[in-house]
């Protein structure tokens, strides 16, 4: 029954893609207009344009770095709150990354509400609250948060949990177009991640993972809102279909729910994909031939390189073939740098390893381990990326699987400073016991989570669950310094040219460290946990730091039971943008 319908759907989809591609060919060289040129330059400069923060990861190179130097370890004692903005209805906290262009701060929050504020004073310029399908918002698990926006062609782009991508005029906030891309009513997932603006396209990935769909990534014409291409992260090519036994690609999961990076030199978009569904696999060791999804399950838990013009796959590396642990590659950080004349990209995998690739073909340069407690594999071969000693989990009970489902790393980003040459990243140490259970995917009338296990988080053997910030060589993983946290910080990090690293922590403290030594030089209590982005920018000649506050992500939801207070009583419906400057 589902098979027939699936085939029909696919045929229709193929036609849509064909038509869309054909249309796009006649309008390829539009681009331009409305200051796009300037914008493109500032985003592709590794250090960002300086005054602005134009794209989710700070620049296409995912450094989360601001070259501004006004605030530094010597004067940071004078760093004080300049202004605060409360968006209201911050359900699950403010999880997003603000952007700044020409003295205006733009941000989105829960329910994809978008604000434009004077970046120096916080004075509202405009706001836009989209009408969402409320029933759908209520029925979704990954809801109602939105993690960011993109800027380009004089527009602000934002995705919605009900499967739309909306473009707003940067000056007025008036919608320019509103395109429905995902059948969220049926698939129960939409967009939570930020889009990425590249050339003349807006690229955004749907959720997927343990949701039985095919997790598409879309390329949309920035001028008109027309869908130009769609890449299916589950069996997006004929060849990859063979890695899904018994037609299991129909309910494969995947997705690409965080914005990736862009290598302008080779015109390549790098994107990370989600895990396959069901999340756990009762076939255990026999996953190659039996179970719910026999085979490698391409392109789930992989990094993929796409041509932004047509969505074609250039090359890929599957970080975990047949992921059976939810240690996906959806982390959007693709830190681009050069070492010994080689152009590299560094990508953290949720399982706790960091992959270093050659940018020309995603061949492995190195793989290093960021977190201590890992036993889902014995190791990962640093030369080939092959998994050594996988711990597959057949039907039944298993104890002390590390890391826990929340991963050794979460979706928020680390930071890289070209001044210190160090990569700053949070690691999470926790494990869990589980019982793998055979399930059937629920597809009608509305797709449902397909986990396939009952589990319980726990302390690692002989240790306590905790987190850490470390400063490392991004290529070798060599550790320069480390700071321990009783609970893993869940927000993004920021590095600045003023030799600072900022860590918004889960208890509510925003902390700053000397980027060279790791010494804490400043802290401020924001009064609620952090769960989103942090940036630096300059407006009217002054440097500012802007951080999103608010608690209640799905990972954060585990903290109350695991760590007790202050998390047990921490509100999950509040959050604000707090902006700092030197007094």
């Amino acid at each position: 029954m589902t098979t027939k319908r699936g085939a029909l759907y696919l045929a229709r989809l193929a036609m849509v893609v064909l038509v869309a591609t054909a249309c796009s060919m006649s309008s390829t060289s539009q681009g331009g207009g409305g200051g796009t040129g300037a914008m493109r330059t500032s985003m592709s400069e590794p250090a960002g344009a300086g005054n602005d923060w134009m794209t989710y990861h700070g620049s296409y190179q995912s450094w989360h770095y601001s070259p501004l130097t006004e605030i530094n370890p010597d004067n940071i004692k004078r760093l004080q709150v300049a202004w605060v903005h409360h968006p209201g209805r911050s359900t699950r906290g403010l999880q997003s990354m603000p952007l700044v262009a020409d003295g205006v701060l733009y941000y989105t929050g829960s329910y994809s509400r978008v604000w434009a504020l004077d970046a120096a004073t916080g004075k509202p310029i405009w706001s836009y609250f989209p009408k969402l399908n409320d029933d759908l918002v209520a029925a979704q698990t990954h809801s109602p948060y939105t993690r960011g926006i993109a800027l380009g062609q004089g527009k602000v782009f934002v995705g919605t949990v009900d499967g739309r991508l909306i473009a707003l005029d940067m000056k007025t906030g008036r919608p320019a177009w509103d395109t429905k891309l995902v059948n969220s009513e049926k698939l129960t997932v939409g967009f939570t991640g930020a889009p990425l603006f590249v050339k003349d396209k807006v690229i955004i990935g749907s959720q997927g993972g343990e949701w039985p769909g095919r997790g598409p990534i879309f390329g949309v014409d920035a001028a008109s809102g027309r869908k130009v291409w769609e890449f299916l992260t589950v069996a997006g090519t004929e060849e990859s279909k063979k890695t899904w036994g018994n037609d299991s690609w129909r309910t494969g999961g995947g997705g690409g729910w965080m914005a990736g990076g862009y290598d302008a030199e080779s015109n390549t978009v790098w994107w990370g994909t989600g895990n396959p569904a069901p999340l756990y696999d009762w076939a255990g060791f026999e996953w190659k031939t039996t179970g719910p999804r026999p085979g490698d399950n391409l392109f789930t838990t992989a990094v993929i390189a796409l041509d932004p013009d047509n969505g074609r796959l250039k090359f890929y590396h599957q970080e975990l073939p047949h992921d059976a642990w939810d240690f996906d590659s959806a982390v959007g950080e693709f830190v681009m740098l050069e070492r010994d004349g080689k152009k590299l990209v560094v990508h953290p995998n949720k399982g706790g390893h960091v992959f270093v690739y050659d940018r020309k073909d995603a061949s492995i340069v190195n793989v290093w381990q960021l977190t201590k407690h890992i036993n889902f594999v014995k190791s990962i071969d640093p030369k080939t990326g092959a998994l050594i000693g996988r711990r597959d989990l057949p039907l039944g009970k298993h104890t002390n699987l590390c890391p826990a489902i929340a991963g050794g790393m979460s979706w928020n980003s680390g930071a890289y400073s070209p001044k210190t040459g160090l990569y700053y990243k949070i690691g999470q140490e926790w494990c869990m016991d589980l019982e793998v259970i055979k399930t059937t995917p629920v597809l009608e009338p509305q797709a449902q989570l397909d986990i396939g296990a009952n589990f319980k988080l726990r302390n690692p053997e002989g240790d306590k669950a905790h987190g850490h910030l470390s400063a490392r060589d991004p290529v070798t993983g060599a550790k320069k310094w480390e700071v321990m946290f009783p609970e893993p910080p869940l927000a993004s990090l920021l590095a600045t040219g003023g030799n600072l690293v900022f860590v918004p922590d889960p208890r509510g403290m925003l902390r700053a460290y000397d980027a060279q030594s790791g010494k804490e030089v400043w802290s401020h209590n924001n009064g609620i946990g952090h769960n989103g982005g942090i940036i630096s920018f300059a407006a009217k000649g002054k440097q500012y730091i802007a951080v999103a506050t608010g608690w209640g992500s799905l990972v954060g939801d585990e903290f109350g039971e695991l760590f007790g207070e202050p998390y047990k009583s921490m509100p999950k419906d509040a959050g604000a943008i707090v902006v700092f400057t030197l007094e």
Binding site: R92, I437, D557, E558
Partner: protein, 101 residues
């Protein structure tokens, strides 16, 4: 078992024990795919959501919570599952042994 039966009758799901057992198995499966993500250890322990074993809420309350969810905390499942499946989930929850007691 007595508890399951009692509840089955109370919810007028019909008297056939075998039928109830099938439903219970299905409910356990649904739970492991869709609910266990937040209600840990099959509902026996707290995690993202509360522990369900031994809850002192009345059946109507549980049914309603599963149906309408709670925004920002738990999804609404009223459209996803049939009335019989929703009731079977309540039966499943009632059948959980509460170790802490």
């Amino acid at each position: 078992m007595i508890r399951i039966l009692a509840l089955t009758v109370a919810l007028s799901l019909g008297p056939a024990v075998a039928w109830a057992q099938d439903r219970a198995a299905e409910a356990a499966q649904i739970f492991a795919s869709t609910c266990g993500f937040c209600h840990q250890d099959g509902g026996r322990a707290a995690g993202r959501g509360p522990k369900l074993a031994g809850t002192d809420r009345p059946d109507d309350y549980l049914l309603n919570r599963i149906r309408v969810g709670k925004e920002g905390a738990m999804p609404a499942f009223g459209r996803a599952f049939s009335e019989a499946q929703l009731r079977a989930l309540v039966v499943y929850i009632r059948s959980l042994k509460d170790d802490a007691r």
